[in-house]
Symmetry: C2
Subunit: 388 residues, 2 copies
């Protein structure tokens, strides 16, 4: 064992090599992949997967992609154009998906033969999709969710992976990370994290399916931690955007991001005691947080909000800046606030709490770094990271 | 105990409140503080400290600041101007230090009565300063080092805190964090981390001395981890600068920063088994890394280096861009490389290794994210964060 590995307690479950051995079973029963979803990220994911199924003998070459059918301005059907041009001309123009990708507008047909289901749709569609899929999928199917926008309800978060497992009766992993779709489409170097519950073999298989030299995937046994990172980071990005709008500088922004990461960790662990601190060092944690707080629309609109001293509401700014899209961060901040309030935890999460109160106009944007009795609250859970 | 605290294993050693109780001893033996150093950061630290000694009864009001004497263009002595104007007109113009600050050009005299010594000089001066101080300081003196630029020698890092302890026979804490001096001078919200060895009471005292509503200080029992963060982050910042210069986007930059944080952690733990993972979640860890990779001169010159395809050396760029200052990141990368090479660990630290090889022209800047057999090496220690 190498010294570094030793020092880090070399995991028994190292999952990052794309060249893991393939069992005889796998060789004889090739896996068949269907991607449920064909938006921007769904199309990029399909491209990644399709490049691997061609190379790896344990997968059927063909990757089926369910397309929510649309009629293009030309009068053609989106799915037909994808199959003709090998491009998702609407959501990922200019990028070839791979000749082994088959767009299929029929959901039932798309999933029928697949034993590996990749879910990557807007989260609000997932309940309806699951309902349609009950009884229509293979019994041995495995699922993975790439959906970042789960809801946090008062009784706790409504995990998409849990929804899939409960509705369809199948195991569900998640894949999250610092994954700006168009950068990965251009094959720029990036990383991602697979979260799995118990079955290490399945996690390995998902890693192999997504891993490319420019898209490094690793797996951690922590579905909830990985999945929560993808949602909670948007709340922190709102806070980081306020700092940008107030022109407080990099020190302050870094401090807010760090406090945010700590609250993400504390919140996740309060809700799921199984969540691991180390997950927050993975791509789904610190890296995705950084990406989201550097770019991203949550940060951008929050910056505009603070620049306007909170005098123009998020609704107005969203309408102006995002062509009708809604910010996940603002609604997640409200949802998180409801959980905190419901459980009496508001004071333990001063950043999450303050972000929400600024969003709804109860506090001015400057409250994010106010030198008042509020600020020291940031230290309430301070240092708590140090004793595991 | 609050639920969040419980979930995070509420530390026995929570050290963040500035209002800790003061023992009788302290009340009767007021501490006397001397700051050794009066550059930009030294002056800001003095300002922070001086605002607190006025308020806290356990400290003498007066803060002495040793000034390396200089004659200003006006012909006046720097120390005299500081004492007259209450400003360090050369290194922190426009900011009042506090009327209770006394600049003293005589090192021996400056430290004579102090039992709390704050060291904040360029690291290359520390050996000489320590030599001069032997036998000249109070026996009960305590030290803290704010010096970020320690050297990494082949046999391991030469910790400034260790140098102070060994040379002067006194205990030494460290204070590090996302601390851009001029932002703190303007009282913008920021955080810092005190690292201490064993004595929690002393750490508390240092926290009280520095803590203000806009400068939140917490303490962790991990001197080496805190101190190493301050040095190793500069190597990562060079890598982040390459990514900026190559215009690879935020995904890639976040990935490089994350891999860098992981290598900082792994390297520190290999050298000191006492180093705690949680330290890297503190301000000295992730927050300082973010600040340094967003701004900072290491990032900036590395960006220019990559933009020029590595065709103009760091020496040339430094001379052009930094008015004769040297980049710590480049020399630290070389020092770290020597340690890794010496111990046979090069392959375990692909990012640190690659940064150095790019700096010396053995690899092109694109190697930082090359889609070659090098890239997957990043995954060699991947996932290792997950199993403590």
């Amino acid at each position: 064992m190498s010294p570094a590995m030793k020092a880090e307690n070399q995991p028994q479950e190292e999952l990052t090599s794309p060249e893991n051995t393939i069992s005889n079973d796998e060789l004889h029963q090739k896996s068949k992949v269907t991607v449920v979803g064909s938006g921007n990220w769904g199309s990029v994911a399909t491209k990644l997967i399709a490049s691997n199924t061609l190379k790896l003998t344990s997968f059927h070459d063909e990757v089926r992609m369910w397309v929510f059918e649309e009629t293009l301005p030309s009068g053609e059907k989106l799915s037909e154009v994808i199959n003709k041009t090998n491009e998702n001309v609407k959501y990922l123009p200019g990028i070839k998906l791979g000749k082994n990708v088959v767009a299929d507008p029929d959901l039932e047909n798309a999933v029928r033969d697949a034993n590996m289901l990749v879910f990557v749709t807007p989260h609000q569609f997932m309940e309806g999709i699951c309902r349609k899929l009950v009884g229509k999928i293979r019994e041995d199917a495995e699922a993975i969710s790439l959906i970042k926008g789960m809801e946090v309800k008062m009784e706790g978060p409504c995990m998409i992976s849990t929804l899939i497992t409960e509705q369809l009766g199948i195991n569900c992993c998640v894949l999250m990370g610092a994954n700006i779709a168009h950068e990965i489409a251009q094959e720029k170097f990036s990383e991602a994290t697979v979260g799995y519950r118990t079955n290490r073999g399945i996690a390995e298989k998902w890693v192999r399916l997504f891993y490319t030299p420019y898209f490094i995937v690793s797996a951690v046994q922590d579905v909830e931690g990985v999945e929560l990172c993808g949602t909670l980071k948007n709340v922190v990005a709102i806070g980081a955007g306020f700092v940008d709008g107030l022109e407080m500088g990099n020190n302050t922004k870094a401090a807010i991001m760090r406090i945010g990461l700590r609250e993400m960790k504390a919140f996740s662990k309060l809700l799921f005691s199984s969540v691991k601190d180390s997950t927050f060092f993975e791509s789904c944690g610190v890296a995705d947080l950084i990406t989201t707080c550097l770019g991203g629309r949550n940060r951008k609109v929050a910056e505009a909000f603070a620049k306007n001293g909170g005098k123009r509401s998020f609704d107005v700014l969203e309408a102006e800046m995002l062509q009708g899209q809604k910010l996940q961060g603002v609604s997640t901040a409200r949802e998180v606030y409801e959980v905190l309030s419901h459980r009496g935890w508001l004071e333990l999460f001063p950043l999450f709490t303050t972000v929400h109160e600024i969003c709804i106009g109860h506090l001015p944007p400057t409250a994010i770094v106010e030198h008042s009795e509020r600020a020291p609250k940031f230290s309430l859970v301070e240092g708590s990271a140090q004793y595991y």
